[in-house]
């Protein structure tokens, strides 16, 4: 259960905690300025992380009643 909480904090740390380091234009990645790319990457990672949480969460099995 605890690992699930930790996983859910990751997107917050990844998007908000990293801002001072990623607030720059270059290098361009996939045509986007680095700052935008970083956020986009984390949006996708957030989906991925929530997918893992869903798989691991014991509450999911009880939820379909």
């Amino acid at each position: 259960m605890k690992i699930l909480y930790f996983l859910c904090l990751l997107p917050f740390v990844g998007i908000l905690g990293s801002l001072p380091f990623v607030n720059k234009v270059t290098p361009f990645i996939l045509g986007m300025p680095f700052f935008l790319f970083w956020i986009v990457m984390w949006v996708i990672l957030t989906s991925f992380i929530m997918g893992i949480v869903y798989k691991l969460d014991p509450a999911v099995r009880g939820g379909d009643k």
Binding site: C8, P11, F12, I15, L16, L19, P20, N23, K24, V25, F28, L30, G31, M32, P33, F35, L36, I39, V40, W42, V43, I44, T46, S47, M50, G51, V53, Y54, D57, A59, V60, G63, D64, K65
Partner: protein
Amino acid sequence: MNVALIIIFGFLLLAIYLGIRATRGKKMDLEQWSVGGRGFGTIFVFFLMAGEIYTTFTFLGGSAWAYGKGGPAFYILAYISLAYVLGYWIGPQIWRYAKKHKLMSQPDFFVSKYNSPFLGIVVSCAGVLAIVPYIILQFKGLGIIVSEASYGSISSTAAIWIGAISLTVYLMISGIHGSAWTAIVKDIMIFIVVLFLGIYMPFHYYGGLQPMFEAVHQANPTFLTLPKTGLSISWFISTVMLTVLGFYMWPHTFNATYSAENENVFRKNSIISPIYTLMLLFVFFVGFTALMQVPGLQGAEADLSLLRLSIQTFDPWIVGFIGAAGLLTALVPGSMLLMAASTSLSKNVYGVLFPSATGKQISILAKCCVPVIALVSVYFTLHGGNTIVTLLLMGYSIVTQLFPAFIFSLMKNNIVTKYGACAGIVAGIASVMYITITETTLGTLFPALPQIIKDTNVGVISLFINLVVLMVVSLATKKIAAQPHFESEAVDGKQVL
């Protein structure tokens, strides 16, 4: 009548038709009308929730933010994704409790948790106070879209009236079922339109995404990042956090959670929805392209950037499809907002003040509230002026004030009393109003503080005041509240009307 208008009205009729058809074979009592009989699966709830995210604000405002502010616009991507992470945990909790106690509106939740109908009135009023400016914004957006797409042949005033009337009729008949169906049509439309525009525009004008960004970067080297002062990193973090907390506190979002058929709907949603927010990325691309191609749109005019660029680039029939998508982005959230406001007014204000009212009367009253709220909103849309923007910012801060009382209520041993919850919400909202109206910022309050704190969203202060008052009053009233509070669990099924 040009081609663009014919297409736009075609889609309006389709939306109304789908809405009316969706009610077939269902007895439209209040539970069907406002929470869809609690039978919506992942897809419907997903579209309903997305329906509230992709409003005219996203469509016009997302490109406007990219156009006018640059880098800070990316906060929208951040907050929606993070709000869904939070939703994974709180969505099922709201739903489970709402189902057990047959809740119908957001204030019901507070009434039942704190065993206080009076708190329900406070929450209703907060909700309506926040919702009306939001509806006004949708109407304004609707007016802009239709009048721009008609190349000026329909005035924005006429467009607002047409939109408001269609919305009212359709909502009174179909309730949330109509919204759900229209939401699907809307999201498919907007998906196609946004993806197309976001890819086509940068390639058409610059030959690619990177050349477009490079051109913007060259013209203004600081535009694509967060500035050092103002909309800086501390602004970004505090604003995202406040918005994440406020996200589920909007009455219509809260209500939409009731319509789910089981709690896994929310968990699945939190997997799909972050990816889905990437649609906004393409809206940003359009905004950035417009920056150099339709230069000189100042202030509120930035809202026109997407449409102006489209009109400059495309034939009227494509503009028609863009306009139709835009029209639907106003209709779906508009209907959800109107429904949430009228359900809570009739049930949690009228129903409490006049306890003799029957369920049937309240159900009828809820539908009758729709045109009244719509009319009030139209009035303010046409006569409100610039104060609306101020009101809307206030709206988000107001709903966020419900969060402390809400989150404490989820705990097993809630230390907050109904008095504490009430006082906290009232104090928080009062400070929001004071701050908004006097245009206070942390910088004007404490000029000596370092810039990093000055840029912090001033909503943090209101939330802090709210928490302090909530704690102090709860501790002071603990003894009075202790007795009825324990009983509440047993009887609150009956307490809810």
